[in-house]
Symmetry: C2
Subunit: 698 residues, 2 copies
C-alpha cells in the first residue's frame, strides 16, 4: 500500500456526493471550500445530475480519468463493491466513513472489518478508516474531512493523527491551529497509526507531529518511528487516552484498542523523547509553541517580562511549580533596566517592567533588547493578555516593539503569555505568528508547554538505547517460577555476579561443606514449590557454629515437612551471610506490548508506602540506568544520608545493565525477575544479591 495515493492523491472521487448535511454533503462542501484546483475532483451519485453546482457522475466507471482516491460516503454494504470498481480506475487510496465494523465489538462487525482488510490488501488500496472522519492534507489541498467547521485558513506545519474524529473537529475549531495534515484514522486497522506516524516523520512539510491515540498495533514499528523522529529531532507530542482505570476501559470500548499498561507508555515515551500531553489543549498548545517558533532556544533559560507586579508574581510562582528556569540577569542588564524603568522598580527575572515602556513601541523595543542581549537568557516570555476585543492600545505598542526587535535580526525566541483564557484577537494573533511569536494559552497550559519545551531541548537521543525488546508475540504459556538457586544460576550464567552458595542434601553433607565457610552463614530451603521460604520456616539466618548448622538443618526440614508436606525438596541452600547494605529492589516486569521493563526502587517503605519506584524499557545503557536511579525521590539515600557514606552507585548501574541484557536475550520467555533485596555497599564495595526469583513462560 502506498500512502501517497491516499494522502497525496492527485485525483479524487466522492461517492455518495450530495448537498444534504451528512458525510456526502459535508465532504463535498469542504472540498469545494478548501481545494483550489478542482479539475480532477469528481462527484458520484447515481441519483443526481448536479451536486452543489458541479457535474455529478452516475458511477466511478463513468469518470474518464484515473481516480487515485475514492471517498466513500455511502453505507457499509456498498464499500467492497465500490473498492473493486475503483480499482479498475487505478485507485490506490480510499476513505471509508461507514461504521459497523470492529468498533461494534460483535462478531459481525469484526468479520466485516477482516473482509475489508483483506480486500484492501488484495487490491493494494490504502484504506483510511473505517469508522473515521476523513483527512485533510493542507499542503496539497487533498480534502476528505467529513464534518462542518468554520471556513478559515488552517495550513501550517503540525501533522495530527487522531483515533478520535471529534478531536479533529476540536482542533479545527481552534482559531490558532495550523496543520500540514489532520487525519482521523477511525479503527485504523488497515492503514495503521504506525503507518501514518511513519509518513509524517518522513514528511518534509511536517515540523511537529501530534497524536491522539488509545493504543498501538505494532510496538516494534511504533518504536522504530519514534527512533527516527528522535534522530531527526522532529518533536512528537502524544496524548494517550486511558491513563486511568476508567479511561482505559472507555478507550478499549471506543476503538477496540488494547490500552496496555499506562506506566509502560510513560516509560517508552521517556526513552524516545516523546512529549506526553494530558489533554487536547496541552497537546495543541505545545505543538503550536514548537511549530511557530522559527528556532528552538539553545537551552531552557527564560526571561519573563511583565507589565504588572501581580502578573510577575504569577510567572514566578507558576514557573517554580512547573520547573521553569529563570536565570538571574547580569549586573549590566540590571543597570540598563534600572536606567529605563521608573525609580520604584526593582528589576529582576521575572521582571516587573510596570507599564512605563508600553506607551511607546521604541521604548519597549529598547527594553526588550536589553533583556535579549543578556547572555544568560535564551528565550523571552512576554506576559500580556490578548482577548477577542482589544480595548487597550498597549498590546499594539508591544507588538510593534517586538517586531522592531525581530526585524533587527534578534534571533532568540519570544512567546506571548496571557493570564486568562480566550480566543485571541485574530488580527493580533496572526501578526505575532507571522514574525514567529506564538501566543501561549492560559498559564497552566502555557507553563506545561514551556516545561515540555525545556525537557525536549534537554533530551539527547545519543545518550539513549533507542530500541525495545518487543517479544515475538504475546504468548499465554504456562508460567513457571524457578527456585532461588535456579534463578541465581540462570542469572550467573548470564554474567550477573552473585554468590550461589551450595546445596546440601543431608545433615552430614551440611557439616562437611560448612568447613569451607566463614561464619555467620544462612540456610534456606531449596524447592521449586516454595516461593515464600520464610513463611514456612524455611530460612535460618546468622548461624555461627557447626553445632548450629546441624540444628538449623533439622529445624528447616521439620518446619517445611509439617507446613508444606507436598513440596518437592531439592536440598538446603547454604551461603555466607551477606553484610547488611542499603536495600534496593531491582526487577523486570514484562509489558504485553513493549516487552520487558526494568523496575528499580529502594526497599521497604520507599516502594511500599510512597510508591517511589522507576520503570524503564529494556534494553538500557549505563546512562539510562543512572537516570533511572536519579529519578527516585529516595535517591539521596544512595548519595550519603545522615552520615552514611555514599553507596556504590556504579555497581548498581552495572547490575542494571546486566539485568537489561539478560532480559533482552530472554524477552520471549522471561515473565518476571525480582532481586529483592539487592544490598548496596559503600563506594567501591559493590552490591550483593540477597535473593532472586525468575519466572519463565514455557
Amino acid at each position: 500500500m502506498d500512502l501517497n495515493k491516499l494522502l497525496k492523491a492527485k485525483s479524487l472521487a466522492v461517492v455518495g456526493a450530495s448537498e444534504k448535511p451528512g458525510f456526502g454533503g459535508d465532504t463535498c462542501r469542504n472540498i469545494l471550500e478548501y481545494r483550489k484546483d478542482l479539475s480532477r475532483v469528481y462527484f458520484v451519485n447515481p441519483g443526481r445530475e448536479m451536486v452543489l453546482g458541479r457535474k455529478c457522475y452516475k458511477s466511478l466507471s463513468e469518470i474518464d480519468d484515473e481516480v487515485e482516491l475514492v471517498i466513500i460516503c455511502t453505507s457499509q454494504a456498498t464499500v467492497c463493491g465500490l473498492l473493486r470498481e475503483a480499482k479498475t480506475k487505478g485507485c490506490g487510496g480510499a476513505v471509508v466513513f461507514a461504521s459497523g465494523y470492529s468498533e461494534t465489538g460483535d462478531e459481525k462487525g469484526k468479520a466485516a472489518e477482516e473482509e475489508l482488510k483483506s480486500l484492501a490488501k488484495e487490491l493494494d488500496i490504502a484504506v483510511l478508516g473505517p469508522n473515521c472522519g476523513g483527512f485533510n492534507n493542507y499542503v496539497d489541498d487533498v480534502i476528505s474531512f467529513a464534518f462542518p467547521v468554520e471556513k478559515r485558513d488552517r495550513k501550517g506545519s503540525i501533522g495530527f493523527i487522531s483515533q478520535s474524529g471529534q478531536f479533529c473537529i476540536n482542533l479545527m475549531d481552534s482559531s490558532e491551529m495550523r496543520f500540514s495534515y489532520a487525519i482521523s484514522i477511525g479503527n485504523g486497522k488497515i492503514v495503521t497509526l504506525e503507518d501514518y506516524l511513519d509518513f509524517l516523520v518522513e514528511d518534509e512539510h511536517t515540523k511537529v507531529i501530534a497524536v491522539y491515540m488509545e493504543g498501538v498495533q505494532d510496538a516494534e514499528r511504533f518504536a522504530s518511528c519514534l527512533r527516527k523522529a528522535a534522530q531527526k529531532k522532529k518533536p512528537v507530542i502524544i496524548q494517550k487516552g486511558g491513563k486511568s482505570e476508567k479511561g482505559g476501559k472507555i478507550a478499549a470500548s471506543h476503538t477496540g484498542a488494547l490500552a496496555g499498561s499506562d506506566r509502560a507508555y510513560d516509560a517508552v515515551f521517556d526513552k524516545f523523547g516523546v512529549i506526553r500531553a494530558d489533554d487536547m489543549q496541552e497537546m495543541m498548545s505545545t505543538a503550536l509553541l514548537l511549530s511557530t517558533l522559527k528556532n528552538l532556544p539553545e537551552k531552557a533559560a527564560f526571561a519573563s517580562m511583565n507589565i504588572s507586579g501581580g502578573e510577575t508574581a504569577i510567572c514566578a510562582d507558576m514557573g517554580s511549580t512547573f520547573g521553569i528556569n529563570y536565570p538571574d540577569f547580569e549586573e549590566s542588564t540590571l543597570t540598563k533596566l534600572k536606567s529605563m524603568l521608573p525609580s520604584f522598580c526593582t528589576p529582576g527575572n521575572p521582571l516587573d517592567m510596570t507599564a512605563a515602556l508600553c506607551y511607546d513601541s521604541d521604548l519597549y523595543a529598547e527594553g526588550l533588547k536589553v533583556v535579549m542581549d543578556d547572555p544568560n537568557i535564551e528565550m523571552v516570555l512576554i506576559g500580556i493578555t490578548i482577548q477577542l476585543v482589544v480595548a487597550d492600545p498597549t498590546i499594539y505598542n508591544i507588538y510593534h516593539g517586538v517586531k522592531k526587535v525581530v526585524d533587527q535580526g534578534y534571533k532568540k525566541p519570544i512567546a506571548i503569555l496571557p493570564f486568562i483564557e480566550g480566543t485571541r484577537n485574530r488580527d493580533v494573533a496572526e501578526k505575532f505568528r507571522e514574525i514567529g511569536v506564538p501566543i501561549l494559552p492560559s498559564p497552566k497550559y502555557a507553563f506545561s508547554a514551556l516545561s515540555h519545551l525545556s525537557n525536549y531541548i534537554g533530551y539527547d537521543s545519543s545518550k539513549r538505547e533507542l530500541s525495545l525488546a518487543v517479544p515475538k508475540k504475546a504468548t499465554a504459556g504456562k508460567k513457571r517460577a524457578l527456585s532461588e538457586v535456579k534463578s541465581k544460576q540462570m542469572l550467573k550464567e548470564n554474567g550477573i555476579s552473585l554468590d550461589l552458595g551450595v546445596i546440601v542434601t543431608s545433615r552430614e553433607d551440611a557439616l562437611e561443606k560448612a568447613k569451607h565457610f566463614t561464619y555467620p552463614v544462612v540456610m534456606k530451603i531449596e524447592s521449586d514449590d516454595i516461593l515464600h521460604k520464610s513463611d514456612v520456616g524455611g530460612v535460618i539466618l546468622n548461624i555461627k557454629s557447626e553445632d548450629e548448622i546441624g540444628k538449623a538443618y533439622d529445624t528447616i526440614l521439620e518446619n517445611v515437612k509439617s507446613r508444606m508436606p507436598e513440596a518437592k525438596i531439592n536440598g538446603i541452600l547454604m551461603q555466607n551471610m551477606m553484610p547488611q547494605g542499603t536495600e534496593l529492589i531491582l526487577g523486570v516486569k514484562r509489558d504485553a506490548q513493549f516487552g520487558p521493563m526494568l523496575l528499580a526502587g529502594l526497599g521497604g517503605v520507599f516502594v511500599e508506602v510512597f510508591g517511589d519506584s522507576s520503570l524503564y524499557p529494556i534494553p538500557l545503557n549505563k546512562n539510562e540506568a543512572y537516570e533511572m536511579l536519579k529519578s527516585l525521590k529516595s535517591y539521596k539515600m544512595l548519595t550519603g544520608y545522615r552520615g552514611t557514606p555514599p553507596r556504590d552507585i556504579d555497581a548498581v548501574v552495572e547490575m542494571m545493565v546486566a539485568i537489561s541484557e539478560f532480559a533482552r536475550k530472554n524477552k520471549d520467555r522471561l515473565c518476571e525477575l525480582d532481586i529483592n533485596p539487592l544490598f548496596v555497599y559503600g563506594e567501591g564495595a559493590g552490591v550483593g544479591v540477597a535473593d532472586a526469583l525468575v519466572v519463565l513462560e514455557e
Copy 2:
C-alpha cells in the same frame, strides 16, 4: 470610616476630568458608559468648561450638592488639599489613583502615605488606594475604574478584591466574568483588604468572593472575616501571589506586602475553608462555577456525559487526576441508556453517548433526564467544546435539550465542559448562563474548579476551631532554648503527660536514685547550653545495672567536659528507657503573622527524605488533629503496616490538642517546640515523649 460612602456613594465628583486618555479621561468615559443616573455626577477641572459633553466645574467648592465620593485623578501633590476641600462638601469616600507612596520603597513615599493615612483618619474619609485602579460597584452603578475596557454588561454576583489593578483589567476583559464589585485596592493601607473583605462578606448582592492578595495587614481581622464567611457559607476564593521564593520577593516589592510563610497561608485557608487558586484563570472559573449554579450539589457525585469516546476517556483520566467522584450508575439507569443508545455503546460513568441523541433536542433531554434521575448522581457535566463561531448545530440541540430539562423542574446542577480554550460564543454562553448552567474553561482549569467545588461542599465549618492565636505583636526579643528537663517541666505543667525522670548531681546520687528505677535506664547530660546532647557524647542508652550506671555517669561528664568545657552543667538526667514505638515528630512553629502552627509527621526518612509533614494553625480541636494525621502519606504506618498492629492514634490526637492549648496560651512568647521523637505504641498503650525542646522569646 464608612465604606458605604466610598463603595455605595450616592453622589460623586471626578477631579481632573478630561477627554484625554489617562486616569481622568478614562474614568469619565467609564462613568458615562456604565452609570445610568448621571444626575449627581460632577466633573471638575479648572481648565475646562465642558468634558465629554458635560458641564465641568472649576472646583469641588463650586458644586451645589453634597459630594459623597471624590475621585482624584490628579497628581500626588494635589491629593491632601483636595481631600480637605472635599470634606467641606460632606465627602466620606475618595479614590486616589496617584502613585509615589509606599510602593516606591523609599522614605519619601512612605512618609507621603503616612500623611495621607492620618489625614484620611482625621477627616473620616474612606480612601481607596493610593496607587490603585479604582473600583466599580455594578449593583448600584457607582463607577470609578480608571482603565479602558470593552463596553459590555458585567453585572453579576462575584465580589472581587485585587492588590493588582492589572488583574481587574484581565477579569473585565473576560467575556464571561460577572461582578457585584471589582475593587483595585492599590497599596491598601488606609482602607485595607480586610475592610473590603468584611464589606463583601456582609453584602447581600455578593454570592462569591474572589481575592488576589499579596499579604494581610491584620491577621486577626482577616481570620474573623473568613470565619464569618465560613459560617454564612459564602465561598471565598483567594489567589495569593508569592507562593515561590522569587514570587514572594516580587510581591513584597509590588505592594510592600509582608508575604509571610506560604505554607502558613495554605494552613489558614484550609482551616477556614478558603479555596486557594493558583492563578487568575483558576480563580475566575471557580468563582463563575459557584456563582452561576443556582444551587450547589448536595455532595460531590458527578456524571460525565460526552458525545465521543476520546472526550469520554479524557474526562475519566482528568477526573482521576483531580479526584473527581464519578459514582457508578444504577442498573436501571444503564438499562434505560442501553435502550436509547446505539447497540455498540457500553454505557457507564463517564458516559460516551456518541452523537446519536444530539440530532434532536427531545431525545437529548430524555437521555439527560435518565442520568439526572439516577439517585447516585448530584451534578451533570456535559462535555462539548463551544467556540466563538459555532459551526456544529449539535450545540443548539444540546442547549434546547438542557433547557427542556431545567424547565421541567430538574434541580440537579449542570455545567458545560469544553475540551479546548476559547472565548465561547457569547450568545450560546449567555443562554446557558440564564438557565444557571456555567460553561467551564478548558479541562485543567475545569477539573481544578470541580475539585474546589467538591472540597467546598465537603467542608464543614462546625468541625473546625475557627480562630487563630495571633500574637500581640511580632516582637523580636532574644530567643532562649530550654534544656530538655526544663522543656519537659513546662509541658508537664501545661497538662502534657510525660516522664520527667530525675536529675542526679553526683555518682553517689545516681547510684542512690537508681534503686527506684527498673532497668534499662538512660542517662543524658542536662545543661541549658547543650542542645545536641548526643553530639558531645552526652547520652548513654540501655544501661542495665548499677555498675553500668556509675560508669555512665563518669563517661558522660568526661565527654562533656572535654568537648564543651564551657557548658554550665545542671546535672545528669536519669530516666527509665522507653520502649521503642513508631516515631512521630510533633512541633510548633510560629508564623510571624498567624501565630503558632502545629507540625506533625512521622520520624526519620518520612519527613527528611519525602517532606511528608502536615502544618495546621493553632488552636485546633480533635477533629482537626485527626485530619492532620490522615493527610500524611505515611499515615498508613499508624493504621497497621506490614503486620504491625494499629497504633494509638487517639493518644496522638490528645497530645496534639494539648500542645495546641499550650501554644495558644503561650502565643506571645513561644517561638518553637519540638517533640522528637514521640513514641506511639499500640492501641490503648498511649504515647511517650522521648525528647522535647522549648524555645521562648524573652
